[in-house]
């Protein structure tokens, strides 16, 4: 086990395409780091450079203190789980798992006992003599995991290991991967485009976009304090609602956000947390609000200056919550970041000129809201997010605690956040 350090790592392909730029990651011993981002953001390339499957064009990668740039994969002592599992089709489950050990010329007894142990952990004991083609998708995935586990490597590298499984199995295997990693305490780099996997598995999550690291932080920090529109829009499902708004300071010194024709009151506490907001008074900003930070005002109770009204165009009861799709009279935020996210989201159509925005609110199931009703929405204005409309960065003070890049494995720290 060891720490993995990427410093100023870049990848430029021979045709001049840049896949990764100046990537700095410091993954401490035993940490579970998730690399997440839309397809083509360079996360897999970064992982493959650590694995030794791609040349490192710039910077250096160190595993356990050794710089491995020129070291072939087999000497790096890492194990990889592939998206396709990449099992050896001609070998039994037993030989698949033991392949790496056999190549390292371990004694037969040792191989057998290690394979048996891994099979036990993964529930493959009765399938050891079967060939991969006779296994289900979930079992193949386990074999791929087993192949990594028995090696007892310095680091696990996982390249979207769950994306070929159906939804139910994915949840199950996700939990299992988390459990195994915790039990073994092996440093792990996990690549995924699924933000749920990222949030549930990672000690820290690194969000990448077009080869550039956007933010690296524990999942809850990432969720609560995204550094820019891209991270804000990418993390969270349903996504954060983003609309154009203006910051205003009233005569009484009270601070308001004008969303379309409606106004939301913001407490002084927010200002002290985000001193830079002061500079945006009278200017346009992009305001973000998470679906769960809104509630049906008839359920939450009316709060002066903290409600919006908007017609309802769709109500989706989920049992535990109700997803209300509302047509808010405010201009939708459409920036490069958001366009890219929409593209990753299956080409959702964005209309820059529209004067209304569909926002999604997560209401309590006690709501009696119906389609076409005029919804009164209570907004938790302490938890609004503010972004600069030009460059998309989050508006904080000088010391946004979320931009920290130093390792911090304590999960779910939310500095100074209270509502």
């Amino acid at each position: 086990m060891a720490e993995v350090v990427l410093s100023h790592v870049g990848k430029v392909y021979t045709d001049g395409t840049r896949a990764v730029a100046d990537l700095n990651l410091e993954i401490v011993d035993g940490e579970f780091l998730v690399l997440v981002g839309p397809s083509g953001c360079g996360k897999t390339t970064a992982l493959r450079m650590v694995a030794g499957l791609e040349d490192i064009s710039e910077g250096s990668v160190a595993i356990g203190g050794r710089v491995v740039n020129k070291m072939p994969s087999r000497d790096r002592d890492v194990a990889m789980v592939f998206q396709s599992y990449a099992l050896y089709p001609h070998l039994s489950v037993r030989d698949n798992i033991g392949f790496g050990l056999k190549l390292r010329k371990l004694p037969k007894d040792e191989i057998n006992s290690r394979v048996a142990d891994a099979a036990e952990v993964l529930g493959l004991a009765e399938h050891l003599d079967r060939k991969p083609r006779n296994l289900s998708g979930g079992q193949r995935q386990r074999v791929a995991m087993g192949r990594a586990i028995v090696r007892e490597p310095q680091a696990f590298l996982m390249d979207e290991p769950l994306s070929n499984l159906d939804a139910k199995l994915r949840v199950q295997m996700r939990a299992e991967i988390g459990r195994i990693q915790r039990d073994l305490g092996v440093t792990t780099i996990y690549v995924t485009h699924d933000q749920t996997e990222a949030m549930t598995l990672g000690d820290r999550v690194a969000v990448m976009r077009k080869g550039v690291l956007q933010q690296i932080a524990p999942p809850q920090v990432l969720y609560d304090r995204p550094v820019n529109l891209f991270v804000a829009g990418f993390i969270g499902s349903p996504a954060m609602n983003l609309v154009h708004a203006t910051l205003e300071r009233g005569d009484g010194g009270d601070f308001t956000v004008a969303v379309g024709d409606q106004r939301l009151q913001v407490s002084e506490k927010v200002l002290s947390e985000r001193p830079d907001l002061e500079r945006y008074v009278g200017k346009a900003v992009i305001v973000g609000v998470r679906p769960e930070d809104m509630e049906d005002a008839t359920v939450a109770g009316d709060a002066e200056g903290r409600t919006l009204t908007a017609p309802t165009n769709l109500v989706e009861p989920m049992g535990s919550d109700v997803m209300a799709h509302l047509t808010l009279a405010a201009r939708a935020a459409v920036t490069e970041d958001i366009k890219e996210l929409a593209e990753d989201d299956g080409g959702r159509v964005l209309d820059e000129s529209a004067t209304t925005t569909t926002i999604i609110a997560r209401f309590s199931p006690r709501t009696e809201l119906q389609v076409d009703d005029e919804a009164k929405v209570y907004v938790d204005t302490d938890r609004l997010h503010y972004f600069d409309p030009d460059d998309g960065t989050a508006i904080w003070g000088d010391d946004n605690p979320a931009t920290t890049t130093t390792p911090n494995t304590s999960q779910g720290t939310t500095e100074g956040e209270s509502t």
Partner: protein, 303 residues
């Protein structure tokens, strides 16, 4: 079953099946028939001699010599060709340059593929003529002058009874490697790249990747190639007929069964006897192909 489907199928099959029957099956049957006669090949008269032709064969020194030569080709050609073709295909595909990360072929892979495949587009007589010139036994010959430069002296090649058959074998290999290289190359590129990468990370070097991953995954293709080459090495008529002295010389050192059949059937007027040889060759081919397929049978591989 829809109405009129059988006439439709039969309609399509009747012509090819008739041609196959007339030009492939019937000559085989006729050969079996003639092998029991003393037919000269031209005269309308023939009489049955039972198995006498086959008894003569067993004592025919020339035929036995041809059989031995074919056996040597059978041992050498498939093994060497398959090994070389596999080796080159592996280099072209995954043998990659040292110091480079990941799984990739060597540089200029397209050029090598073309270069190796080139002999395949030449007809056998052309190959035979080219190599007959290269193997010129005088010290001015191409092969000999090349060896002369590096101080290895000159050889008789096709003129040396001890070397002639090996020279033939060499030309056969030279002519076949390219095709099998392209075949293996195609088969290899259908193996998911991930599997090679997994092997790399599991700690496999080039050699163990080749032996433990590539070979088993290509087994079906290798097996088929092996049988094909075995059948080829029992034939080799055209090359020997054009390239060697005599042909079949010197001193019958390159004599092969197919050459014997042609000589007996068309030159010596012993068509019945030649047919008997053909029958023996037929069974030999059948047995060897069956045995090879049996011995090398493995479980089918699916990705």
């Amino acid at each position: 079953m829809q109405h009129g489907r059988y006439p439709f199928i039969v309609g399509f099959l009747i012509l090819p099946l008739t041609l196959y029957g007339v030009f492939v099956i019937s000559p085989f049957v006729q050969a079996f028939h003639y092998s029991l006669t003393d037919w000269s090949g031209v005269s309308p008269d023939l009489s049955y001699v039972g198995l006498q032709n086959f008894q003569t064969l067993m004592r025919d020194g020339l035929f036995l010599q041809a059989l031995r030569n074919n056996a040597l080709l059978l041992l050498g050609l498939p093994a060497i060709t398959v090994m070389l073709a596999l080796f080159f295909a592996f280099l072209l595909n995954v043998g990659g340059a040292k110091g480079k990360a990941g799984v990739q072929g060597i540089r200029g892979n397209g050029f090598y593929k073309l270069a190796f495949f080139l002999p395949q587009v030449l007809s056998v007589p052309v190959i035979a003529v080219i190599w007959a010139v290269i193997f010129d036994p005088t010290s001015d010959g191409l092969a000999n002058s090349a060896l002369g430069w590096v101080g290895l002296g000159s050889f008789g090649w096709l003129a040396d009874p001890n070397l002639a058959l090996y020279s033939v074998l060499w030309v056969l290999i030279w002519g076949s490697v390219g095709f099998y290289l392209v075949l293996f190359n195609a088969a290899m590129s259908s193996i998911p790249r991930d599997i090679f990468e997994a092997a790399l990370i599991d700690g496999a070097g080039r050699f163990s990747t080749f032996v433990r991953v590539t070979m088993p995954l290509l087994w079906d293709t290798i097996q088929t190639s092996w049988v094909y080459l075995a059948i080829l090495s029992l034939d080799v008529y055209a090359l020997v007929a054009v390239m060697t002295a005599g042909p079949g010389g010197p001193d019958n050192s390159t004599q092969v069964i197919s050459l014997q059949i042609a000589q007996n059937g068309f030159q010596f007027g012993r068509a019945g006897y030649a047919s008997a040889m053909g029958v023996v060759l037929f069974f030999l081919t059948l047995i060897i192909a069956t045995v090879m397929l049996r011995l090398t049978r493995r479980e089918r591989i699916e990705y």
